[in-house]
Amino acid sequence: MRLVDFPREDLAAKFSDALTALNGNVVLAPDLDAAQAHLRTMLAGKRVVASRAPILGGIGEEYSREACAAADIGVTSADFALADTGTLVFLTESRESRLISLLPPRHIAVIERDRILTSLDELLSRVPHPGVQSSAMVLITGPSRTADIEMRLVRGVHGPGEITVIIVGS
């Protein structure tokens, strides 16, 4: 186990660089109000399925399989983020479903800045037994992709082709 050594205040910037390099989008919001306002503009006119995580303020339809399959955008919180790889971490303990971040073609996640960890190593030292907390821990690093046809990179094959992370408090 090796903890990456860079200053805590750079974590949001580091995360943003890593996810942007994978064609993901990052929005920095100074506070929760600004984040939710931004979210509402992004969702305007779209069919939205969203988790009931308090940080989202009760937007969109509640989880159901049908809603996930029909939605344009799935909105979730996230338990952690990993700065060095641009990864989001989900434990279903936080009542996040598996399918909201998977079935719709776009995924937006809202996360507080202090939930950004340095790396996989720090995650596994903080959560050494993910199976105790939840039946599934899912790590998402950028949009769904494939290169199965002539090695050409195509995004959004089964999971979302677009991913946006709103970081609150930055």
Partner: protein
């Protein structure tokens, strides 16, 4: 030694389009890997490799204890472990479960283990429709073919060929074709009663399986249907969830040159109370199918450390020429060359460990440091000792005797005068693929004498 079935090899060598496809795909994968393990981005790469090797060694040396711990913990999380000593047993369990639950449609995410046991054919015989959902696997399933490469199953197909298989317009782009597959498979995910996946890792201390992928089809297969079955070889165990910090860093980089693959799912049992979704039933089929036989051989046990990244294929000068279909079994490339004889018996395709230049690239790039060249040599030795050609053995014995007797060796000066070896008899096949360098004007002995040192 009996030579390779020449037909597939000749076909592959004679097909310039295919040659280019193999060469560029493996070259790109190898290049991506190099960028993500470079010293400036991953300074402790060699330490990680050694650590991964040591972890695998430790786990396999104590596999009995870890298997029991794994089973206990899967049960504690509400899942169930099924022990299958053969592929047929594994397939029978899955077929029976599908019948009992009235399931007619199964979605599958890419798994080399299920290829190994011919799961799809078995399910079809039971009247169950098993649909591959990894894009590459979906294409080759529709084409009625086998995976060409451990991580790039449809590497050999051009976009035009894919369009034909998907009944799409001939000038479709990879984006169009991917979109067609997405729509078709989406329906399957939502309708299937069982999702079958492999497992990249089995985590003993958590009773969990870990799936690593880029597309999202493994997440869908393990989350959308009411039943999730993971089929995995017993060698996939690692002791602790924390060990993933080592393995995940190596797997993505070695396979596709990604610091972390897009989706990593750590799955411990079925959905729990309060969780909105996930399967209601969770099974792990632990497959032996010859693995304990390899485990019993301390010298070659390390063949089981393999994490199926495909790096050895991408760096192999032989694989890059003869492609994935020239190998007799589901595992191709250098790792296939050591696994196939050990699983299927050395007598089945005795040429296989000999189809190597022993350049050592496979061992060099292996993220868990399997000494593939060394194992190839051991297999060669075993094969020759058991059933080697008598004439060949005699020839080598004579050669050794001559080399040990300088005066007799000197009598063979005339061989140099031939300039070209006669392409006849046993030399003919050997020379057909090799260019010998021109011999120097004077032999070493002559030069030595001339310089006055004799």
């Amino acid at each position: 030694m009996k030579s390779a079935p020449p037909q597939k090899i000749q076909q592959t060598l004679a097909d310039p389009k295919l040659q280019k496809a193999i060469y560029s795909a493996t070259g790109r994968l190898a290049g991506n890997r190099r960028k993500t393990i470079a010293a400036d981005v991953l300074p402790d790469y060699q330490e990680l490799r050694q650590h991964a090797h040591d972890l695998k060694k430790h786990t396999l040396d104590h596999l009995d204890a870890y298997l029991e711990e794994f089973e206990r913990n899967v049960a504690a999380r509400g899942g169930k472990v099924i022990w299958a000593s053969t592929g047929a047993e594994a397939c029978a369990f899955i077929g029976n479960l599908a019948r009992e639950r009235g399931v007619k449609l199964v979605v599958k995410s890419k798994s080399m283990t299920s290829e190994e046991i011919h799961l799809n054919e078995h399910l079809e015989k039971d009247g169950i429709d098993a649909v591959e959902t990894d894009l590459g696997e979906y294409i080759i399933q529709l084409a009625g073919e086998k995976p060409y490469h451990i991580i790039a199953p449809a590497l050999h197909k051009t976009r035009e060929q894919v369009a034909e298989v998907l009944h799409a317009e001939a000038d479709s782009t990879p984006e169009d074709l991917t979109a067609i597959a997405r729509v078709a498979l989406r329906e399957k995910f939502l309708a299937a009663g069982i999702g079958i996946t492999g497992a990249n890792f089995l985590v003993a201390d958590s009773g969990a399986i870990v799936l690593v992928e880029n597309e999202g089809n493994a997440r869908l297969s393990s989350s959308a249907p009411a039943i999730h079955i993971a089929v995995a070889g017993i060698e996939k165990l690692i002791p602790r969830a924390q060990d993933l910090a080592v393995f995940l860093k190596l797997l993505g980089r070695s396979a596709t040159g990604q610091p972390l693959s897009v989706y990593t799912s750590f799955l411990a049992g079925p959905r729990r109370a309060g969780e909105p979704d996930g399967p209601e039933e969770f099974y792990v089929v632990l497959l032996d199918n010859g693995r304990t036989k390899i485990l019993a051989d301390p010298g070659k046990r390390q063949s089981l450390y393999c994490i199926r990244c495909g790096a050895c294929l991408n760096h192999c000068p032989v694989y890059r020429k003869i492609g994935g279909y020239s190998y007799p079994w589901v595992y191709s490339g250098p790792i296939g060359k050591i696994l196939t004889p050990q699983f299927m018996g050395r007598e089945q395709d005795p040429w296989l460990p000999f189809a190597s230049s022993l350049c050592g690239a496979c061992g060099e790039v292996c993220p868990v440091k399997i000494e593939i060249p060394k194992i190839l040599l051991e297999l060669r030795q075993e094969i020759v000792e058991k059933s080697g050609d008598r004439r060949e053995r005699m020839a080598f014995r004579m050669f050794a005797w001559i080399m040990r007797h300088p005066h007799i060796y000197a009598q063979f000066r005339w061989v140099r005068k031939l300039r070209k070896l006669p392409a006849a008899g046993p030399l003919k096949a050997w020379l057909s693929q090799r260019d010998l360098p021109d011999l120097p004007k004077k032999s070493f002995r002559e030069q030595w004498r001339e310089r006055g040192r004799a």
